[in-house]
Symmetry: none
Subunit: 218 residues, 4 copies
Amino acid sequence: MPQKNIAANKDKTIRRILDGATKVFAEAGYSGASVDEIAKAAKVNKATIYYHVGDKEALYVRVLHEVIGQTAAGIATRMNSSMTPSQKLATYVSGIAETVGNYPPLPPVMMRAVESGGQILSPEVAADLMMIFGILLEILEQGAKEGVFVKANPFIIYLMIIGAVAFHRNVEANWDQKPELAMLFKQMDPEFYTKLEGSLSSSVAAEVTRLLLRALEK
Amino acid sequence: MPQKNIAANKDKTIRRILDGATKVFAEAGYSGASVDEIAKAAKVNKATIYYHVGDKEALYVRVLHEVIGQTAAGIATRMNSSMTPSQKLATYVSGIAETVGNYPPLPPVMMRAVESGGQILSPEVAADLMMIFGILLEILEQGAKEGVFVKANPFIIYLMIIGAVAFHRNVEANWDQKPELAMLFKQMDPEFYTKLEGSLSSSVAAEVTRLLLRALEK
Amino acid sequence: MPQKNIAANKDKTIRRILDGATKVFAEAGYSGASVDEIAKAAKVNKATIYYHVGDKEALYVRVLHEVIGQTAAGIATRMNSSMTPSQKLATYVSGIAETVGNYPPLPPVMMRAVESGGQILSPEVAADLMMIFGILLEILEQGAKEGVFVKANPFIIYLMIIGAVAFHRNVEANWDQKPELAMLFKQMDPEFYTKLEGSLSSSVAAEVTRLLLRALEK
Amino acid sequence: MPQKNIAANKDKTIRRILDGATKVFAEAGYSGASVDEIAKAAKVNKATIYYHVGDKEALYVRVLHEVIGQTAAGIATRMNSSMTPSQKLATYVSGIAETVGNYPPLPPVMMRAVESGGQILSPEVAADLMMIFGILLEILEQGAKEGVFVKANPFIIYLMIIGAVAFHRNVEANWDQKPELAMLFKQMDPEFYTKLEGSLSSSVAAEVTRLLLRALEK
DNA sequence: AATGAATGAGTTTTCATTCAT
DNA sequence: CATGAATGAAAACTCATTCAT
């Protein structure tokens, strides 16, 4: 069955393209990434990208969809309807942290997306984000209805979680790989450096959950 | 005083350049911004930018230093040693929110700053960022020492603040400018849309402060 | 054979580029030549030059290699092992004169090559130049061994040949293209002018050969 | 007398400009040299060059005139009417070599001038060159008239002398200062290298004179 | 399905020159 | 006399995209 092989090859090619693009977009952002670089990272001819995926913007949207969609799916899977709102919140936060841990490109991609003003957003990506937010919304509403949570702006809580988890992971990853910066801080203010390093080593999910529960629980 | 006039003109020119660059970098990010566009925004000949400031990167660093430095200084100024830690935290959050309002790229820059290996960052900018985080550090330490705050990871709190403020500002900006997106949400889930819109319209600084104080205060 | 056609087209394009570049570099020198002009001369899009050859310096090196390499090869080919040293010297000089006629910047390049620290020069070009000097070296050594030539400093003879050919070619070229200069000489010193013009019209190669043979032959 | 001081200052400024320009033109050629670089080398404001000397071309012409004019004057001084043609020729060659030795910029400047096609030549420079050539012309004519020299194309002899002397000096000077190239040759062909180095160390003037007298004397 | 070639329209950067002071 | 500021024009180089094969 040669058709199947061709199809499989095609899929592999697209996979390589998306992986390469994810990597390059994560490192350089949308405008900073060049199609040439992506093609090189994907070990694919530049024209192949246009053939299979489309232009640079289409590629970006597809990468965003994949990255954010995976996160959304991961969280949804973990949630269990028999949990209390507090338990759900803890699951939610650690779910995000875990997905992010398993899928490192998310933070930089999201960061870059924020940086570029979120100008490129497809309906699919919007739906992904809605889904992630929607889960939190339900948790908070349930908590409020049951009288265990105070009322709070869900979107801001959402942003606090995403911000802390995503960027913490990012800083953490880079702290070890780029010693120049750590050195710079060390030289400028050794005491500060020690505190920063201490902050980095702790578990984000646990700390974020703890703080949020303190903030929300009556 | 002819010399003085020349000097004054020079300063005005540099001011125009920095203002134009700040605006354009804010809208488009580093790679998205073009020197041509900056020159146009500054109403200055492109070569004048190179004459007074240097190349694109030097210009970016200078803008960053100015913006982040002013943020740092602004927050420091607002802070009053006679305030309670809680008051200081409120001042801190609203100080950041205000600056971010004036200069949207600040948040991603602040987050990436710690992460990017300082490739584009000058020591001056690093010092500015250290100062901003350092202020929060002191507030939390003071609060802990005085027994009014529980112990908490300062870096995570920092990220929660920056994350919430940064993302919020971004979404807000896109919400108004891209009605398609709002429409899209409305069609997909009208109820969700109403809630989201409600979340967006409230003040981030106030809500973030309220939540953090609930989380931190004993 | 579709692939073959593409390859052939590619070769033709590169040929056009190298020919255009050779022409423009010859007329204007390295810094005087612009890539735009070369693209125009080659009837190729500027970007095509970068695609196929690389940047200006790579293009220059390639042109040099081609021109000097061909000179070296040309001289070597003309040389016949059955010739006497005197015949070989005559062949050598006329071989250089001919190449210089086709590519004026050759002489200064050949002279500077030994001098410039090889900044622009590739190892290939250095090898080419070594070969050209090496041929002369062998001729002189053979002549000395056979007892037909007196001993002489080969490098100085090399410089005399190159110097005479190079300058002559240059003056000649300017003589025809810039009639003002000729007029100027005529006005300043008519007799001198007549002599100079007489000197210019004769064949350099023949005269240089004649003089060198008188100097070298026992 | 303040006027005198001002005038003296002016002269010093012009001197600095010409020295800087000579240096930069010698290193980079006409198109390779930038007015900025010249101003820097001369420790003078760029506009001062335009004020005192004029545009880039005028500056180049002035440098050429100075450099070549000095050489011309140096040779003329050494010549003595009571000498035999052979003695005069020896004096001529060593005079050129000596002047060049005392005034190093000549060879690179002439070389660059050749490279750029001698497109920029003023009447003054032409007169200088005429003067240098004129002296040789007289020597050769006298020799021919007296029956001691064979007839020969004076211009080509002129070029052989200039070529050998000027470029030898140049190669010599750079051989010591740029060891990379010497190393390159050494690696490529050790034997060749030894011969080349031997060639470089001998006296040009003596060898050129010896060869030319062998070529010219009946 | 996949690619090398080619390009138009940009990008960043430099440069010779002028001018007000 | 001397200079810092400013600029139009052009330089080198890049990039997203298309197309023939």
